[in-house]
């Protein structure tokens, strides 16, 4: 066990701290209404656009660190410890994190790994700069957990892909310029072998986006309909019929990004403050032993997951360490734990905890309820908790697969 940083990293930590101080209270002129985004700061000092912020971070090497300069990144060596230091210090100082989202977290790594030169040059830079928003067109009405059952059809006609069908649950489709999409291009092939990974401009003729309001009462996702949508033949990542493998690479990236460990620590600290301030029958909640016990209980779980994140980090730095199952549990544990934490805050506040929108007596802009519900979405999205348990038990523990129903593919 050695948790010390060498001088290089201690210096780097200082540098990041200084950066955070310089930009203390930075706000965005184009901030979204999403309570998750607007929580970061109350003081108004430096004002920038989201995209300007991305560029500042890239210039410092605090974001897109290992992405080559020619594609709009910083062009440095990947450095896991530095990334960790950045995340920790930003989180501590409440400095706004770089933009995430499916384009940045999923598409960019995929293109870096499997994209053509032309695709890398065209898409990575604007995506990193927050100027090109992507959505993920995987799920369909009849293909959710069983994603490979998808039926949206792509035919190559006269050098163009012609796409027909429907996607659903497509997050941010209504704001997106592009979609990375799974489409069945080889109808004769076996289920998983008939899929291709296509890049579709959202302003193409024949695309209709219909927003779907989710339980938070925001339109977080959409239905997307395709009627004879035409895109160039070259807008494919990987080869025809290899889309499943390409998509699996990106799903791996998504699972890593759904439940960042620093965020939950901040929320736990917020909850502790809340319990010191909020009163029940005139007495601060922190002094009510039953609520206090629940707080301590979840603190124990969060501490375990924080330590576990360090172990996973260490395994990246020290290739001998075996954390196969340890990685597989992250999506399940991370999303469930966060949902539980937000739910505890609601219980602590009681009736106050169910106030919403712009109600009088509302606390913290209603963020506890919002995130509580939002994380139920994340428990379902990106592979449900049940699917995660299948993965852990089958691939992690080697338990036998469910026998296939006769006739099912």
């Amino acid at each position: 066990m050695d948790l010390h940083y060498s001088k290089e990293y201690l210096d780097f930590e200082k540098e990041v701290k200084a950066f955070c101080k310089k930009y203390d209270g930075v706000t965005f002129t184009d901030a979204s209404k999403n309570p998750l985004a607007s929580l970061s700061s109350k003081k108004k000092k430096i004002q920038v656009t989201r995209s300007e912020w991305q560029k500042i971070l890239i210039e410092q090497g605090y974001f897109a660190r290992a992405v080559p300069k020619e594609y709009g990144g910083y062009g440095g060596e990947p450095d896991i410890l530095k990334s960790r230091i950045i995340a920790t210090e930003f989180s501590k100082a409440k400095t706004p994190a770089p933009m995430g989202g499916q384009g940045i977290d999923m598409l960019v790594p995929t293109l870096l790994e499997m994209g053509t030169q032309e695709q890398k040059e065209k898409y990575i830079k604007p995506t990193l700069h927050g100027e090109m928003i992507w959505c993920q067109g995987y799920s369909e009405p009849n293909a959710g957990s069983d994603l490979a059952a998808l039926q949206t059809k792509g035919e190559l006609i006269d050098g163009e892909w012609v796409i027909n069908g429907q996607k659903i649950w497509t997050s941010t489709a209504q704001y997106s310029q592009m979609m990375f999409c799974l489409v069945r291009t080889e109808p004769e092939a076996q289920k998983h072998a008939g899929i291709s990974y296509l890049l579709i401009p959202m302003d193409s003729e024949g695309i209709e986006v219909r927003p779907l309001v989710d339980m938070t009462m925001k339109a977080g996702f959409n239905e997307v309909f395709f009627t004879d949508v035409k895109i160039p033949e070259t807008n494919i990542v990987g080869k025809r019929g290899e889309g499943w493998a390409v998509a699996n690479a990106t799903l791996g990236h998504e699972r890593g990004s759904l439940a960042p460990p620093d965020a939950i620590m901040n929320r736990l600290n917020m909850l502790i403050d809340l319990m010191k301030q909020e009163k029940l029958d005139g007495k601060p909640l922190i002094e009510h032993s039953i609520y206090r016990d629940r707080l301590m209980k979840i603190q124990g779980k969060i501490m375990a997951s924080q330590s576990h994140a360090l172990r996973l980090l260490s395994a990246k730095l020290n290739p001998g360490q075996d954390v196969k199952v340890g990685k597989m549990i992250q999506k399940l544990v991370g999303t469930e734990l966060r949902h539980e934490l937000e739910g505890l805050a609601i219980d602590v506040m009681g009736e106050i905890g169910v106030l919403y929108e712009d109600s009088p007596h509302l606390r913290d802009k209603g963020s506890w309820q919002f995130i509580y519900m939002y994380f139920l979405g994340l428990i379902i999205g990106g592979g449900t908790s049940q699917i995660q348990k299948n993965i852990i038990s089958e691939r992690g523990l080697g338990l036998p697969k469910e026998p296939k129903v006769q006739g099912a593919q």
Partner: protein, 361 residues
């Protein structure tokens, strides 16, 4: 940066696991549970031969001079193999108390003998971690009276180390006048506990603990981490057994591990237990290197592991069906080990309350 056990630590763990695999089969555990203590003595001697008694004793006193993380790694492997040997009290809590709270003379006197295995401590701290049945300890000058319940590792003890409610710690000779030792029977027969009824017994107070609770707190923190690590090992063993069984046992013409209800129980156990490794290591590491967080992490490790492993003990038994409930399979020896660890040195609720108070003040 490296977060994990060292090669040495893993090597030591493997030695203990292998020894217990070879010498402590379920048949042997059954004999021990039926009060055939010669088998327990053999296991104890074998484990001592591997060097656990001098683990924490500084090298200048003839020990190995290792740290709490090392001890936690060993505790985990003892839990894994349900090792029927004193450990937490004799070889972790007692040496730490003397190292931290003893005078030079006391260190010289006791630590050297712990390292040479001539002195073995039974340890009674329940006055501090939760007094039951109105038990109480009074210290007057160099005499101690009262009752100490759930004294750990008493079986081979040549001395007892007792703390009163203020964290004043001292040593009594097991042969001294005025000691009435009452054996207690818990569900777990791999480690035995007793009650000491003391009447005006000669008591040698550890020098630095007369007016300070600090040493007692360190001792309890370390003890809690050991119990948590023991439960971690025991729970991992139970999961492994459940997963193996789920692959072999067939019902309705297929392995029960292909039923999702079973599969998901296994996945849930792993998802809960896996992060506990890191928590234990981190908490143990903190005892030496992160003084500000040491106490909180020890409390949280103890209470969190108590909860997670209780659930693992239940689910892994269920995976085995009726077989899980039998003495034939003997899964219950680990179930009971986890059950005892959970209550010793502070129940989860009590330990969480301590954790809360640490942060409020």
């Amino acid at each position: 940066m490296y977060f994990g056990l060292s090669e040495d630590q893993i090597f030591f763990q493997d030695n203990i696991k292998r020894f217990l695999e070879e010498n402590s089969s379920v048949d042997i555990l059954r004999k021990i549970a039926a009060d055939d203590r010669t088998f327990a003595k053999d296991i104890h001697d074998g484990i001592v031969n591997l060097g656990i008694n001098g683990l924490l004793v500084p090298e200048e006193f003839g020990g190995l001079g290792l740290d709490i993380l090392f001890a936690a790694a060993i505790s985990e492997s003892l839990g894994y193999g349900a090792g029927a040997t004193p450990f937490v009290g004799s070889y972790v809590m007692a040496p730490i108390a003397i190292i931290d709270g003893g005078s030079d003379k006391q260190k010289q006197n006791y630590l050297t003998n712990v390292a040479s295995n001539e002195v073995k401590f039974g340890v009674g701290f329940s006055a501090l971690t939760g007094a039951r049945d109105d038990s109480e300890i009074q210290i007057k000058g160099n005499k101690i009276s009262g009752r100490s319940l759930f004294v750990l590792d008493y079986e081979y003890a040549t001395h007892f180390m007792i703390s009163d409610i203020n964290g004043c710690i001292g040593v009594i000779d097991a042969q001294a006048n005025g000691i009435d030792l009452v054996e207690l029977k818990t569900i777990d027969r791999t480690r035995n506990v007793c009650e000491l009824i003391l009447k005006n017994v000669d008591f040698e107070i550890l020098e630095q603990t007369k007016n300070s609770k600090n040493t007692a707190e360190k001792v309890i923190d370390a003890g809690r981490i050991m119990l948590a690590a023991d439960s971690l090992g025991a729970a991992q063993n139970m999961i492994n057994k459940a997963v193996d069984y789920a692959k072999e046992r067939k019902q309705f013409g297929r392995a029960i591990g292909s039923f999702q209800a079973v599969k998901h129980m296994c996945a849930e156990m792993v998802a809960e237990l896996e992060p506990c490794y890191a928590l234990i290591w981190h908490a143990a590491h903190a005892q030496k290197h992160m003084p500000n967080e040491a106490r909180l992490m020890a409390c949280q490790a103890k209470s969190h592991l108590s909860d997670v492993t209780k659930e693992v003990a239940k689910k892994s038994t269920e995976v085995h069906g009726g077989m899980g409930f039998t003495d034939l399979l003997g899964l219950h020896y680990w179930f009971k080990r986890i059950g005892l660890n959970r209550q010793l040195l502070g129940t989860p609720e009590r330990v969480r309350e301590e954790a809360a108070l640490l942060q409020l003040n």
